[in-house]
Amino acid sequence: MSAFKSLRVRLSQGTQYITDLRKAVPSGFRGRPAIGSAPCPVDCSACVDACPTAAIRLAPVALDLGRCVFCSACVEVCPKDKIAFTTEPKMGAAARDDLVVLEGKSPATAVKASAAFAKIFGRSLKLRQVSAGGCNACELELNAVANVNFDLQRFGIEWVASPRHADALVLTGPLTRNMQDAVRLAWDAMPEPRFVVAVGACAISGGLYDGASGVARELPGGMGPALLVPGCPPHPLTFVNAILGFLGVE
């Protein structure tokens, strides 16, 4: 009887995994923005004024994905429709400057592979996630990378419970003062070689909480992120593609 019920579930479940994570585009997703080259009206700073995280600069228009929370307030106020969000999930970068989208430029969508990291971690990467003020949106999306749809384990990339077992510390949240000690302890517990991945606008720049009263963003030396995954929260495909690109996984 219970075997029959279980079989029905199995049949309803079907096959859920996304066969090619690099080509998948999430339908309806507000992803990587593109900035057109139409000239801005004189003295217009509507997008800058509307942005809740000071992610936009003018002349030329530049949008910092490390600060952007994808609220589309800028899109709503632009009189020239210069800014548009595409469904492109690939937004990760290894360098902070590579997160800036410039007007009129077609953006690079692939993270530059690091030969050094690929050599060590390309076939097996164990991740320990620590949330330091994350709102549980980043955390849920990071959980999702291991679910039946995204199945990151197929590449030898897995979440582990202990920092002792981890190669990379995946940080979310703006880094709260009350988590400072715990973050350092987790990092200290990790064996070398190790690196940090910053996930979400909060972890990359402080995002909406940059300068907030409970936030203390100083990290111990050596904890500068090697990989940045923007979003609020990043889509699982953003994370997956950033990791795979960084490690040069074919």
Partner: protein
């Protein structure tokens, strides 16, 4: 002004500032006579603190009362008589420094600011030869938020659990006063990211009330669709986690897979899997063109077809029954005493749901049934979630058939009315989300109180695990599925 939650606006001039003793006596009397505390909070200016209490009468109307005290004198605590006040008085003391005389346990809720340090408030200790302590956290063995749990055990049995939070404290309430009052949605959506829609709606309804904006019925219905999708998605997340915690892997993967369908549906409507941007003051940020309506219907049909299959398998399984039944029991009396709200309250037999019995808004247009149970165990909390998903999916299906026109431009808000207090309550997936906004002389925000249901429900978890095996803690925890950041703010 209309809303699908509870909305209560008072002019400060009509809100009497009571003397402390009559205020306290009336509050105590009202609570002992069966009124329910919705929130209690303070605002400090120099050495004076205004304390505001919001109660709900059995007829569901709200009652607001206020007193003014000095920081040094304060008032005599009420927690000893009314346990549900414990977290409110602790928070009041932490946020304003006001003296709450004779309070039994003024441990900070979230350690705002630099002092006092966490180390100044050690965990309770139980002495004895057979007592041992288990410390867990703040970092847990999973991709989840941080918090500290300290178990006092007798053998394998938990005698007492103390939960210490605050690690996620970012400073949300202060930050809310720094931005333009009608453009706080992105920030509000991160108070608890899994409850983005409920918090965004509570905020939007509050500023719409202060900005005197009237919404179309379709807009209310569309907002409620987003809220119910959030409920379905997060209940699926909880059930998936509960199944994983008891090693019922088919439940873990199938509930997880169905959650993907639910959140991808939300993404189709508003661009975000968490409903970010779905609700904005004056309207919505969702579109429902004809082709999307077809996809939305198909997704709902898939959920309504496949959910019963896994539910039947999950609920009939012996291992599930064995692990969930009579584990983590909270009686109706305990739940009421602690002032619990939302799923844990309903699972213990308390009929608390903001959506029920509404006189206006989406749930008046199309009423929704309330799920409840009287067992108060992990099983009951799972059952309530399953029943709520069924009700929500049916509700959404009917609404999109009756109200498919979501094409309503956002209505501009007027300048916020000065010197008013507004209380806005929305039933999120965990329970009631409460936002209280107060404007000053020029219509600027002078106070913003945020309350996630987790603030009150954490103590429910601590009490529910008493006399349970420590190995059952994960399943008890997941059955409550509370927010760390929602508590820590």
């Amino acid at each position: 002004m209309s809303t699908s939650g509870i909305l209560h606006r008072v002019a400060l001039g009509e809100l009497p500032l009571l003397e402390t003793k009559p205020w306290r006596d009336a509050l105590r009397k009202n609570l002992l006579e069966g009124k329910r505390l919705v929130t209690l909070f303070g605002r400090r200016t120099d050495e004076r603190v205004w304390i505001t209490a919001v109660l709900q009468a059995p007829d569901r109307s709200l009652l607001v009362s206020r007193t003014e005290v000095t920081v040094a004198v304060g008032y005599h605590e009420l927690t000893t008589d009314i346990a549900a006040l414990h977290c409110f008085e602790r928070e009041l003391h932490e946020q304003t420094g006001v003296r709450v005389a004779a309070h039994p346990w003024l441990k900070p809720i979230r350690y705002e600011g630099n002092a006092p340090a966490m180390s100044e408030f050690p965990f309770y200790k139980i002495e004895g030869k057979e007592v041992h302590e288990v410390a867990v956290g703040p970092i847990h063995a999973g991709v989840i938020e941080p918090g500290s749990f300290r178990f006092m055990c007798l053998g394998e049995q938990v005698h007492h659990l103390e939960i210490q939070l605050g690690y996620q404290h970012r400073g949300v309430e202060r930050r809310l006063l720094e931005g333009p009052p009608t453009r706080l949605s992105p920030l509000v959506e991160t108070i608890a990211g899994d409850t983005s829609v409920a918090h965004a709606w509570a905020y939007a309804a509050a500023v719409e009330s202060l900005g005197e904006s009237e919404l179309d019925t379709e807009v209310e219905m569309a907002r409620a669709v987003a809220l119910e999708l959030e409920r379905v998605a997060m209940h699926l997340s909880t059930l998936s986690g509960m199944a994983a915690d008891i090693g019922f892997l088919q439940g873990a993967s199938t509930y997880g897979r169905l959650r993907t369908t639910a959140i991808n549906t939300t993404m189709r409507l508003c661009g975000s899997r968490f409903g970010r941007g779905a609700i904005r003051p004056g309207g919505i940020g969702m579109k429902l063109p004809a082709d999307l309506l077809i996809d939305l219907r198909a997704n709902l049909e898939l959920l309504r077809r496949d959910l019963p299959i896994i539910n039947e398998c999950f609920l009939a399984s012996q291992t599930v029954q064995h692990r969930l039944r009579e584990v983590g029991v909270l009686t109706a009396r305990q739940a009421a005493e602690l002032g619990l709200v939302g799923v844990p309250a309903r699972a213990s037999g308390l009929p608390l749901d903001v959506r029920i019995g509404m006189k206006e808004g989406a749930y008046k247009v199309l009423p929704i049934g309330m799920a409840s149970s009287s067992h108060g165990d992990c099983w009951a909390r799972a059952r309530v979630r399953i029943d709520e998903m069924d009700a929500s999916l049916e509700w959404i299906s009917t609404v999109i058939a009756l109200f498919p026109n979501w094409n309503h431009p956002r209505k501009p808000l007027r300048a916020l009315v000065p010197n008013h207090l507004v209380v806005s309550v929305v039933e999120g997936f965990r329970g009631e989300v409460v936002h209280c906004l107060e404007t000053g002389e020029a219509g600027e925000l002078v106070h913003y109180k945020v309350q996630d249901p987790s603030l009150r429900n954490w103590m429910g978890l601590a009490i529910a695990v008493r006399e349970n095996e420590i190995s059952d803690f994960p399943i008890c925890n997941k059955s409550f599925d509370l927010s760390y950041c929602g508590n820590d703010l």
